[in-house]
């Protein structure tokens, strides 16, 4: 049983015009097995929340705490956060030319497990994960994210989620750019990971359609750098009807 606890999180980015405050006190608790949807208009700070938890150097934490089972996440390096059990499925996964998917996955698994996975079982693991996501085996010899279609990038993210077995996963707009078939395949992958590892999920999305496939236990509405409303799955239905107009600021 794991708990990711976010308390009063304040985050700024430094720009040419000085620091701009983006997160203005976020409180959120995610436990193993729970699925939380964070929904909100563009520019509300949803992605900043995701990247701040993962430790992206662009963001400066100016207040608050983030702990995973009591350990101070904000004091950890990026790789240490992954080792502690956090995973971020990115909206725009980064291309790493010349590094094959298979090499990347094995290097990551080795780092996270503390030893190189046995080659034979590892190949089987990767194959199964790729099969489950309807991915061509030739995929593993391509360079990480290079020349991938939008759908391939997202499948690759979810494949990592299944292989690397984190405790808490943050999915940043994993649904964006996916057609209906790809959305279903990717969602099934997330649900498998939930089931297999009692994964806690923080699902960041602009639209409600992914929630048809991944059922949230809690829905949080995000606007202007903090959570403005919370509820159960029914809150998503209300957003589907009414949109974000009532939360709009400025």
């Amino acid at each position: 049983m794991s708990t990711l606890d976010i308390r009063g999180l304040e985050v700024s980015v430094i720009t040419e015009k000085g620091a701009i405050e983006i997160l203005k006190g976020v409180d959120l608790t995610i436990r193993s097995g729970e699925t939380h949807a964070i929904m909100g208009p563009n520019g509300s700070g949803k992605s900043t929340l995701a990247y701040s938890i993962a430790g992206h150097p662009k963001y400066t934490i100016t207040g608050g705490t983030v702990t995973l089972d009591g350990a101070n996440v904000l004091a950890m390096k990026v790789d240490e956060r992954a080792k502690a059990g956090l995973f971020l499925a990115m909206q725009y996964p980064v291309e790493v030319p010349g590094v094959s998917v298979s090499n990347f996955l094995r290097t990551a698994a080795t780092a996270l497990r503390g030893e190189a996975p046995k080659l034979r079982t590892w190949i089987g693991e990767v194959k199964a994960a790729m099969n489950a996501l309807n991915m061509d085996p030739a995929f593993s010899e391509r360079s990480v994210n290079e020349g991938f279609s939008g759908g391939e990038k997202k499948r690759h993210e979810i494949m990592q989620l299944e292989l690397l077995k984190p405790k808490i996963a943050i999915l940043d707009e994993t649904d964006s750019g996916l057609d209906v078939d790809a959305l279903r395949i990717v969602s099934e992958g997330v649900n498998r990971a939930k089931e297999a590892n009692n994964l806690g999920v923080l699902l960041i999305t602009h639209y409600t359609r992914i929630l048809r496939y991944i059922k949230p236990d809690f829905v949080h509405v995000f606007a202007n750098g903090h959570i403005v409303e919370e509820g159960g799955p029914e809150l998503a239905d209300k957003l589907e009807e009414d949109g974000y107009a009532e939360y709009a600021v400025s």
Binding site: D79, R81, M90, V94, V96, P97, G98, F104, A108, A111
Partner: protein, 363 residues
Amino acid sequence: MSVLTTNYLTPTGREEAWRFTPLNRLAGMHDGTGIISERKSLALKDGSQNGVRVSRVPRELIAPQSYSDDVIVQRIHAESDDVLLVEVASNTHVSDVIHLHRAVGGLDGTELSRVQISIGAHSTAMIIVENRESAILGEDIEILLEPSSNLTFVTLQEWSEESIYAARHHAIIDRDASFKSITVTVGGSLVRILPTVEFSGPGSSADLSGVYFATAGQHLEHRIHIEHGAPKAKSRVNFKGALAGDKAHTVWIGDVFIRATAEGTDTYEVNRNLLLSDGARADSVPNLEIETGEIVGAGHASTTGRFDDEQLFYLMSRGIPMEEARRLVVRGFFSEIISQIHDEAIEERLMTRIDGELAKAGH
């Protein structure tokens, strides 16, 4: 041993061709003060092969097939004792790699080496030159590709730390022939290579790839010159470099000339540099001169940057520690070119060396 004669225009360092080169580290190759040592270092590494002849011939018997305004090349043409000939007969497919290496090393005196490689019409071959010894060496390699021949030419500059290598690798490519070169430069105190190409017949092509990695104090210079004089020829240049450590200096010059006679030319060149520490300097100067508008395409690109934070973040967010992430990114950066050597042992040796250079550099 004899003292180099000095009836040449000695470079001062102000000339365009010499402005980046630390002349005082050339062991007198440029001004004739160096002592010549006839080392005849280049030799066939493995046994002989059908259709391939390797021999040494007195200088007077073999005229240079090209002119160079480079003073060191001129000196080599005038003064080298003999010429190493590597000849592939016509209509021959040489299935095994022709492996050349330095049979002797040494830092006592300057070797002037002249090499001529000829690939007969309709023949295919691959040559790998391994430079792993100590040397003070001026070398001119002329590579003659007869019509419809095909050569892959790999040179590995893995010289010892003190070595000095000033060379021209000059390909003359006849009709419908294709030349592919991979130039790897990681070792040596000062390396200055002129990978140059002239097209002597239409429909010919050249693909020049290279990687270099300079660490503290190394000067690694590549001055490409491609002369498009024949119609419908195609050239591609892709050089990638990394630099780490104080006073690591790389120079990449990409001169491409498209003459009025070279209608239908298709050329593109790119140089990318990765600066891995402070105190290093990468000069990158692409240069394109076009005398005819009737071409297929002509372009160039040059970038010099540091580690991509986004790449490192992505890898680290999967649990990969910083150093390992950097190693992956650098290996990936170079693998595009190194993987084209298609020799696993050499590729792994180079990658391991690159890992080592990166580790030495720290961060």
